[in-house]
């Protein structure tokens, strides 16, 4: 019996060397461990042996079975690994072929600019409000200290609908509407973005439709220095922490004093370049202290209240910031143009 098992083992060692596939391995397993295998026959034959011999043969048979199991398992792993390798080598793809183009949406650059400005002013406690584009002459001009026949109405040549209705030429009528709706309730802190219309022929720098963002603060003791500080925050946030602003005296009928605001050139840092036309400064917006006539007409006693107002042009901001040279691009909406601006812009702050 012992010799039989030895013989069987030799046979097995011979057979397993011939196995090349999983199927052959399965057959081998059935041959050596299955119900009809030699080793099973031996178990039946063991009945005739003595207790001593039974014990000895049982041990040898178990040893043989364990040996076969381990050998088959090892070979199975080996074969599986080989099979997988073969499979993977057939699954190779060309990673340099072009990718699938996934349509990515984009924020229009004007909206992007407006969003940035809204975020700045919301963080300073301003509400974002709105007003109609079809506006009354009363709010667009008259109550902004531009009575009928005022020469400044000519420079804002307007699209009139009727004698007293027009497409608003500025977002400033929202100042009037806000004050009228609040009558001496203070403080007022608003910005108002929106579309405006002027009778200009479209060219690289003019558009008959464009956007404005109006700002208004009214309270007791609001000063021009408050305006300057506020616009400094705005300019730094939009054009970079290193920017400074300067006020230049100017004239608008609805503010007194009136100023134009320049930002130090972000291209040359004030040294003078072609963007700032060598001056080191770029004009970005108009602003001023709300004219007492406007305050009084809107129900705020100008002896008690003061306020400041400013008007930002998002197209102009975007043109300056990104170097866009033709305002018409914003309204043509070439897809390639639209997708240029919706990208991350990292900010950095100077440590304090």
């Amino acid at each position: 019996m012992k010799n039989e098992i030895e013989k069987l083992k030799t046979l097995f060692e011979r057979d397993i060397k011939k196995v090349k596939t999983m199927n052959e391995l399965n057959d081998l397993r059935i041959n050596y461990l299955g119900k009809k295998s030699k080793i099973q026959e031996f178990s039946t034959m063991m009945r005739d042996l003595s207790v001593e011999e039974k014990k000895e043969c049982g041990r040898l048979m178990n040893e043989f079975k364990t040996y076969v199991e381990v050998e088959i398992t090892n070979l199975r792993k080996e074969l599986e690994a080989k099979e997988l390798e073969e499979k993977l080598s057939n699954e190779k793809i060309d990673v340099t072929l072009p990718s699938t183009k996934i349509n990515v949406g984009s924020v229009h650059p004007i909206t992007k600019m407006i969003n940035e400005v809204e975020d700045i002013f919301i963080s300073m406690g301003y509400d974002v409000v709105e007003g109609p584009e079809v506006e009354r002459d009363l709010y667009n001009f008259e109550m902004l200290n531009l009575p009928k026949g005022h020469p400044a109405r000519d420079t804002q040549d307007s699209f009139y609908i009727t004698e007293d209705t027009l497409l608003r030429t500025q977002t400033s009528p929202v100042q009037v509407r806000t004050m009228l709706a609040n009558i001496e309730k203070t403080p007022i802190r608003i910005i108002c973005p929106g579309k405006t219309y002027r009778k200009d022929n479209d060219d690289a720098t003019h558009s008959h439709e464009f956007h404005q963002i109006e700002g208004l603060v009214v309270d007791e003791n609001i000063s021009m220095a408050d305006l300057k500080g506020t616009l400094e925050v705005f300019a730094k946030k939009i054009f970079g922490e290193k920017r400074e602003i300067r006020f230049r005296p100017s004239h608008f009928p609805f503010t007194e004093p009136s100023i134009e605001v320049d930002v130090s050139c972000f291209n040359c840092n004030g040294k003078g370049c072609n963007i700032c036309k060598g001056t080191g400064w770029i004009e970005i917006l108009g602003a001023g202290m709300v004219h007492p006539n406007v305050l009084n007409m809107c129900g705020y006693d100008s002896n008690k209240f003061t306020g400041f107002a400013f008007g930002i042009g998002p197209e102009r901001m975007a043109m300056l910031k990104y170097g866009i040279n033709d305002i018409r691009n914003f309204y043509i909406n070439d897809k390639r143009f639209l997708e240029e601006f919706d990208k991350v812009e990292k900010v950095s702050y100077e440590s304090k």
Binding site: L97, P98, S99, T100, K101, N103, G105, S106, V107, H108, I110, T111, F121, I122, M124, G125, D127, V128, E130, P132, E133, V134, G149, P151, D154, T155, F159, I161, L167, P187, K195, Y197, D200, E209, I222, S223, M224, A225, D226, K228, G229, L231, I245, R246, R248, P249, S250, H251, P257, S258, M289, H291, T306, F330, Y331, I332, N333, D334, K335, L338
Partner: protein, 789 residues
């Protein structure tokens, strides 16, 4: 306003160059466009042509010996009018002319050391160069001193600054006004011009009478100057006029312009012999006619003011004189008009006829004090430069208040508004520099503003004066001290922003297009009759009507991109639209346009946009907005601009809120899909707030079934029936196969139904019961037949 620097320096004692003055002016609010040399040429000297001989090798060139004071130079000259003994302008070797630098050269074998110049070659603006000056060299008077700077001699050594003034500063439309402003910056006194008139004994009032018949003329003053001699103006007047942008004509016309530039008071000179002995100022009659001095016959309106004699209009007040009374080379006697007209009338008239240097000043307002001063100055100059005799006295009137305006303001108010700390002394100093007299007691100022500063009438105007003169650069910015609060958006605007964010994430590009459209576009995508808003005088008919639908604008964007080979396009726009319904109506709308491939891999796979793609975008948005289960598409009442078979109206809770589908082929023949929603209606729909619902823990059962249905049955209705009749155990229904014309006029549709109970594992019987009920109801309700049974 163009300002001659040499003239300015005569009026105010400063020795600063033009650029520095211009920059200082910029800081106090007076922007400039450019700084220019009146005559850009350099190194010009006066020379005398000693001799001239023909060039040996040319039939038009001459070889000249020219004395330039230091020595005699040989110069080759091509001008036809060069002669010996002429005094001429010579640019020496090294001189820079607009055409280039003058070099020592050899011209056809003859050495030439410089150039004899014509005026045209000096770089003067061409409007100042007469025709004869373009043809030959400029010959100077015989007494011109040889060897001196020719520019200096001609008065062309001047720099001018072109200012772009703000509308309120009419006082700066005069050299005297500029002098006051510059004087205030540099703290220097202004030297007013001489206007002391020497009169003859004849009285003006014996020869002319003035009658005013309109409220729109507040001042009208006249003098008569007799026996003037018309000739060329002296160089100083000519060069200053040129610096300020006005072409010299003759001494008389030049004087009227010169005084206007000096004082800001426009004057008009009549040929006194061509008018009667009475001047009447009145409103024109509608339809009245006058021939203005440009030779044009004008038909007047009653808003125009006319100056008339007894018979006829002789001038259109403030804008242009009449041809019949014009000053000509033969004029001997002059009637000077110095007047103030209502700016509004002048503006209306000049808008129709001509915006002139005079009308601009009248429109913005002139200093009432200068009406007489300018009149006297003109008389003085006509006497000095045209030999005229000035009759004694002035006729006319001045009803304008010429007193200083008194304004009281405290130092505290000034500093409160500016947010600065300007000392009382500094404030006093600023007012004094500006030429405002003021009294101060306990830090309260009583300021007297001269009549020339028409822009100043209230406290805030004075605050601005202090601010700009003290300098805003000295202002330290701070933030307003206000209660801390959170700023916010209007709820609807926040909602629209959220919608936009969803659409970006779905791969749509936001566009912004014009709201003004044309007559054809306004008729498209109309879902009801309405009255549109038309601009009364549009720039072009293409931009004349406020749009009602955004889709026509998006179709244009699509055309633009597609024609540039950008064929995959998913865009949207949100915009307010306007129309008339009793009053002006404003509606927030959203429009989406999709065409081409939604997802594309050119060598591999793609999703081609069709109706179901844009429907998917819509449903994704509706899911986000919490209205997905409440929405329905209906093929009823689709507007004409949509394809009748490939479009639908969108309903939520049974109310139409928009449309989706393919544009009608007559609107667009491209494979484009669009959708338009009324965002106001969408915003008004009440929705539940988000509440957590447990994810099902128990297994679900999926079963398929296919029906043969008549072609005209809407699959959506079958899906609804499956949900409704299957009971609460039906958690999802998918359509996984549609086979059109499976049989004659019939289609086969396969459904995959998920059964799920959130509380327990479903039993086979429960599923079967629901399954059978569905089959039963679909078969009966739609006259359908279950397949494979």
């Amino acid at each position: 306003m163009r300002v001659s620097n040499s003239w300015l320096k005569e009026l105010v004692d400063i020795d600063v160059d033009a650029k520095d003055i211009a920059d200082a002016m910029l800081h106090v609010g007076n922007e400039y466009e450019s700084i220019n040399e009146l005559c850009p040429a350099t190194d010009l000297v006066i020379g005398r042509v000693v001799s001239k001989r023909p060039h040996p090798d040319s039939d038009h060139l001459n070889v000249c010996e020219v004395d330039l004071g230091d020595k005699i130079y040989q110069i080759v000259c091509g001008a036809p009018n060069v002669e010996a003994n002429q005094k001429v302008i010579v640019s020496k070797v090294g001189a820079k002319l607009p055409a280039g630098e003058i070099k020592q050269t050899v011209i056809r074998g003859v050495e030439s050391n410089g150039m004899i110049c014509s005026l045209a070659e000096l770089g003067l603006e061409s409007k100042y160069v007469k025709e004869e000056d373009k043809k030959g060299i400029h010959v100077l008077p015989e007494d011109a001193p040889v060897g001196i700077d020719a520019k200096e001699y001609l008065g062309l050594n001047d720099t001018y600054v072109d200012y772009e003034l703000t509308a309120n500063r009419s006082d700066l439309l005069s050299m005297i006004g500029m002098a006051y402003e510059v004087g205030a910056i540099y703290d220097k006194k202004v030297n007013l011009p001489n206007n002391t008139v020497t009169e003859i004994s004849d009285k003006t009032s014996d020869y002319i009478e003035i009658e005013n018949k309109t409220n729109n003329c507040k001042a009208y003053m006249s003098r008569i100057v007799r026996n003037v001699e018309i000739k060329e103006s002296p160089e100083i007047i000519k060069s200053r006029l040129m610096s300020c942008g006005i072409r010299p004509i003759n001494n008389v016309v030049d004087i009227s312009n010169y005084v206007m530039l000096e004082y800001g008071q426009p004057l008009h000179f009549f040929d006194f012999d061509k008018i009667g002995d009475k001047v009447i100022i009145r409103q024109a009659e509608n339809g009245e006619e006058i021939t203005t001095l440009d030779g044009v016959d004008r038909i007047l309106k009653d808003t125009d003011i006319v100056i008339c004699d007894e018979d006829k209009p002789i001038a259109l007040a403030g804008v242009m004189g009449g041809l019949d009374s014009e000053v000509t080379m033969d004029t001997k006697n002059i009637l000077i008009e110095s007047a103030i007209f209502n700016p509004y009338n002048i503006r209306y008239t000049s808008k129709e006829i001509l915006r002139s240097e005079a009308s601009v000043r009248f429109e913005k307002g002139v200093d009432p004090k200068r009406t007489k001063e300018a009149l006297d100055r003109a008389a003085y100059l006509l006497n000095k430069y045209a030999g005229g005799e000035v009759l004694s006295g002035i006729v006319g009137f001045n009803d304008k208040d010429t007193d200083d305006k008194e304004i009281e303001i405290s130092a505290k108010k000034i500093n409160d508004v500016l947010g600065m700390e300007v000392s009382t002394n500094e404030i006093r100093n600023i007012f004094s520099r500006l030429g405002f007299t003021c009294k101060e007691k306990d830090n309260v100022f009583d300021v007297f503003v001269p009549s020339r500063r028409l822009d100043i009438s209230i406290k805030e105007d004075l605050i601005e004066e202090v601010g700009r003169m003290h300098g805003y650069d000295n202002m330290k910015g701070k933030l307003p001290i206000l209660p801390i609060r959170m700023g916010r958006h209007l709820p609807k605007n926040k909602y629209i922003k959220d919608i936009k964010n969803r659409l970006y994430s779905l791969g749509l590009n936001e566009v912004i297009t014009y709201s003004l459209v044309n007559k054809e576009e306004i008729e498209l995508f109309k879902d009801k009759p309405f009255e549109y808003i038309k601009v009364s005088s549009p720039l072009t008919e293409d931009r004349s009507i406020m749009r009602y639908s955004i889709i026509p604008s998006l179709l244009k964007v699509a055309d633009y991109n597609i024609s540039r080979n950008i064929k995959d396009l998913c865009i949207f726009e949100t915009s307010k639209i306007y129309y008339i319904e009793e009053d002006y109506k404003e509606v927030n709308k959203l429009a989406i346009l999709m065409t081409g491939n939604y997802i594309d891999n050119t060598w591999n796979s793609r999703i081609v946009i069709d109706f179901y793609t844009i429907k998917g975008v819509l449903e994704n948005l509706f899911d986000y907005l919490g209205v997905l289960k409440r929405y329905k598409l209906s093929v009823e009442n689709i507007p004409k601009s949509y394809h009748p078979g490939m479009s639908a109206s969108i309903l939520i809770d049974g109310n139409v809120i928009g449309y989706i589908g393919k544009p009608h082929p007559s609107v667009s023949n491209k494979d484009i899909y669009v959708c338009e929603l009324n965002l106001d209606k969408l915003f008004d729909i009440q929705i539940k707030s988000i509440k957590y619902k447990e994810v099902p823990k128990y297994p679900s059962v999926v079963k398929d079934m296919a029906f043969v249905l008549s072609n005209d049955i809407s699959v959506g209705d079958v899906v609804s029936t499956i949900y409704k009749k299957g009971g609460r155990v039906v958690s999802n229904v998918d359509v996984f196969d549609v086979f059109n014309n499976f049989e004659k006029d019939k289609k086969s549709v396969a459904f995959k139904i998920t059964f799920q109970d959130i509380e327990k594992t479903l039993t086979e019987e429960e599923v079967l019961k629901s399954f059978e009920t569905i089959i039963d109801n679909v078969e009966k309700g739609f006259n359908a037949k279950l397949r494979n049974k």
